[in-house]
């Protein structure tokens, strides 16, 4: 993997750091109960994002270079028109650092990639609600190569209960292997 550690995130010059904060605040300002990215994207968060993506360090510096001038919108417009990859790197660093912050995740109600138990022994709601019966009632939808037309299957089940004698799909064995 290409992940060498980047500990020099804070070696952005003061100027670059200020420009980054100003852009972060422009893209994601404090509003609607959420904090500004300028406050959330601390050195620590920046280091986190760049450790995950050391390849972004260089384009980030490019995006913050002083030659692009003091006007933030003009900077974003120029990057968008001439250097879309550099602009994307800038956005990704800000967004990546912001949305990996615990407080921000709380604010948007996102718990992260948490493990959720699959309850495969429970009768699915769609069966309960008869949604599958509606599909079965229409009969086969595949085209039979022998006739070239929609297949006909004699005695095709019309309801899920008919297909399975009313039993739910074979459920879990509560932790025991099946094969």
């Amino acid at each position: 993997m290409t992940t060498e550690r980047v500990d020099d995130a804070t070696t952005l010059t003061d100027d670059e750091r200020r420009t980054l904060a100003a852009i972060a605040d422009r893209l994601i300002p404090a509003a609607h109960g959420m904090p500004s990215a300028a406050d959330v994207v601390t050195d620590e968060r920046l280091r986190f994002a760049l450790n995950a993506r050391p390849d972004l360090a260089e384009p980030l510096r490019q995006a913050l270079r002083p030659e692009l001038g003091p006007d933030l919108q003009a900077r974003l417009d120029t990057l968008g028109a001439d250097e879309p990859a550099t602009l994307y790197a800038l956005q990704l660093v800000i967004v990546g650092a912001y949305y990996t912050d615990a407080g921000v995740r709380d604010g948007i109600g996102y718990p992260g990639q948490v493990a959720i138990t699959v309850r495969s022994w429970e009768y699915p709601q769609y069966l309960e609600d008869g949604l599958i019966d509606a599909v079965l009632a229409r009969g086969p939808v595949w085209r039979d190569p022998a006739t070239g037309t929609r297949a006909r299957t004699d005695n095709a089940p019309n309801t899920y209960a008919e297909r399975f004698g009313g039993t739910p799909p074979e459920g879990d064995t509560h932790g025991h292997d099946r094969a």
């Binding site: 893209l27 079965l136 086969p140």
Partner: protein, 530 residues
């Protein structure tokens, strides 16, 4: 440096190579596999870590050109609107595949007879059925039996279906209103403990590797068993050429290790399982098996469009198997009134995490400034995505060549992809986009966003060494054996005659198992080099 000769040398340890290795090892063959990638440790996969969405865009990107890892080779893709995607490791692309497991349909094998276009396959659905049942057990499939889009089965999926989630239920209700076909998706993902692997925990990070081992990838489902039966798997081994003798029989393969040293692996039989980019690349590099002139031609990649519906209520759609929640085959079969032939499968997928939501969308929509927060709040966990996989008809103009200028890290010429989406496919996608919008509408979406052709969607690589009975118009025969080189087989998706409109892996591995069975049955008639 030469090694011990193998009965069978397999090139590529992905989906098809693993299936063939296991079957042949079971039958007592001395199997050696050369794989350019390495063994991975699923504890390292980023899915259960805070930096997942950052890593998913680089080290875990689905495009080898973006990843650029030592195990990857570059693909020249200036002349294609769709980028080929894959993973190079033990397990191949199954490491990052989503796990959706539909089978090709009966009509897919008879496109010429039914629709007067493209070609028929020399084999058919019913002949493959026993192999589907066997590979379904090997990979571990979860699904609700009885889908009326397929002929009735005599064997059910080995595990009950995965949940379809709030998003799946919402869209299923919409489909019911319209009277359209939908079904809970079949996935090669455990819904229960199965074969020593744990059930899915719904992280939705399947395309960055599955931390749980719940998703079938052949480094878990096949290779440990094949190796236990005596198969040898050499990693970090990039094959540069298949060698042959003056009787036009393959004698083995030359490969290059990570330090650049060259090796030769002798073998009685060579099996190519390097996928529909890697396999024609090797055949072209070796100047083998191409008397038909069709090696590398007829590349098919399933042009893909995405229709995203946004709903007022929270659907928690950052969670759920990425395989698919539900599918629809309502508009799969040809209806000429629509102005095109063949059709597309729809698969409903979860919509990703906050970074994905915050960045410009697939459809190019972005929101910055104070509205950014409203955008994230209204999108994150509130969406459902219909992915539309269009059947791509074979066209010799869509092809792979060897680059004159670009090489991989081992100095081997890179493949160059030349591909256009056909007018038939464009009309097909346009029609399906409109129907999918109606479906989202019926489900109650308040906003619908469309990506009409996604660049990073070349997941399904097919057709570049097609199967057929006539050596003049095909590369391999109905048993996946080269017409020209009698001890050379191609068992990956290269052998597809037409692409079908469904995710192909279930069909690829059924065909590979059938070919392996045939190798076992005909072992005493097999021509081998002296």
């Amino acid at each position: 440096m030469a090694s011990e000769p193998a009965d069978v040398l397999i090139i590529g340890a992905g989906a098809s190579g693993a299936v063939v290795a296991l079957r042949l090892a079971e039958a007592g063959f001395k199997v050696t596999c050369l794989e350019q990638g390495e063994w991975l440790n699923r504890a390292d996969y980023p899915g259960n870590k805070l930096d997942w969405e950052l890593k998913a865009r680089k080290d875990w990107a689905t495009s080898p050109n973006i990843r650029g890892l030592a195990s990857d080779y570059p693909i020249v893709e200036d002349d294609t609107p769709v980028s080929p995607l894959m993973y190079n490791a033990v397990g191949g692309s199954t490491i990052i595949f989503a796990g959706a497991w539909p089978r090709a349909l009966p009509s897919d094998f008879r496109v010429r007879s039914l629709d007067g276009i493209a070609d028929d396959w020399p084999i058919d659905y019913f002949e493959l059925l026993p192999y589907f049942y066997r590979t379904d057990k090997q990979f571990g499939i979860s699904g609700l039996p009885g889908d009326p889009a397929y002929p009735p089965d005599t064997e059910d999926a080995p595990m009950p279906p995965l949940p379809i989630g709030a998003a799946g239920l919402k869209v299923a209700r919409g489909m019911t209103k319209l009277g359209w076909h939908w079904w809970p998706e079949f996935n090669s993902i455990n819904s229960t403990n199965y074969d020593g692997r744990r059930p899915c925990v719904q992280r939705s990070t399947c395309q960055s590797g599955c931390n749980e081992g719940a998703k079938a990838s052949t480094d878990l489902t096949h290779w440990p068993k094949a190796i236990g039966l005596g198969a040898t798997l050499i990693t970090g081994a990039r094959v540069s050429r298949i060698e042959h003798n003056d009787k036009a029989l393959a004698t083995g393969a030359t490969w290059i290790d990570r330090d650049g040293a060259e090796h030769f692996q002798p073998a009685k039989v060579v099996v190519l399982a390097a996928n529909a980019i890697g396999t024609p690349r090797l055949l072209l590099l070796s100047g083998l098996g191409n008397s038909s002139g069709l090696v590398g031609k007829r590349l098919m990649m399933h042009p893909f469009a995405n229709v995203a519906g946004l709903f007022e209520e929270p659907l928690m759609s950052w969670a759920g198997q990425f395989g698919d929640l539900i599918e629809s085959l309502e508009f799969y079969e040809t209806d000429e009134k629509r102005g095109f032939v063949r059709g597309a499968r729809w698969g409903l997928a979860p919509t990703g995490g906050p970074i994905n939501t915050a960045l410009p969308s697939r459809a190019g929509e972005q929101a910055w400034g104070p509205d950014h927060h409203l955008h994230v709040r209204s999108h994150l966990g509130h969406g459902a995505n219909w992915g539309l996989f269009a059947e791509d008809l074979p066209d010799e103009a869509n092809h792979i060549t060897l680059s004159d200028t670009v090489t991989d890290a081992s100095g081997i010429p890179a493949p160059e992809v030349h591909y256009r989406m056909s007018d038939n496919s464009r009309r097909m996608l346009d029609f399906h986009i409109e129907r999918a919008k109606e479906s989202m509408d019926a489900a109650g979406a308040y906003k619908i966003e469309v990506d009409r052709l996604m660049r990073y969607s070349g997941w399904h690589l097919l057709g570049t060494a097609r199967m057929g009975d006539d050596p003049k118009t095909s590369v391999v025969d109905r048993w996946n054996r080269s017409h020209d080189v009698k001890n050379l087989y191609v068992v990956d998706g290269s052998c597809f005659v037409t692409s079908s409109g469904v995710n192909p892996t279930s069909t690829i591995v059924a065909i590979a198992l059938r070919a392996a069975d045939h190798m076992v049955e005909t072992r005493f008639e097999q021509q081998v080099p002296a």
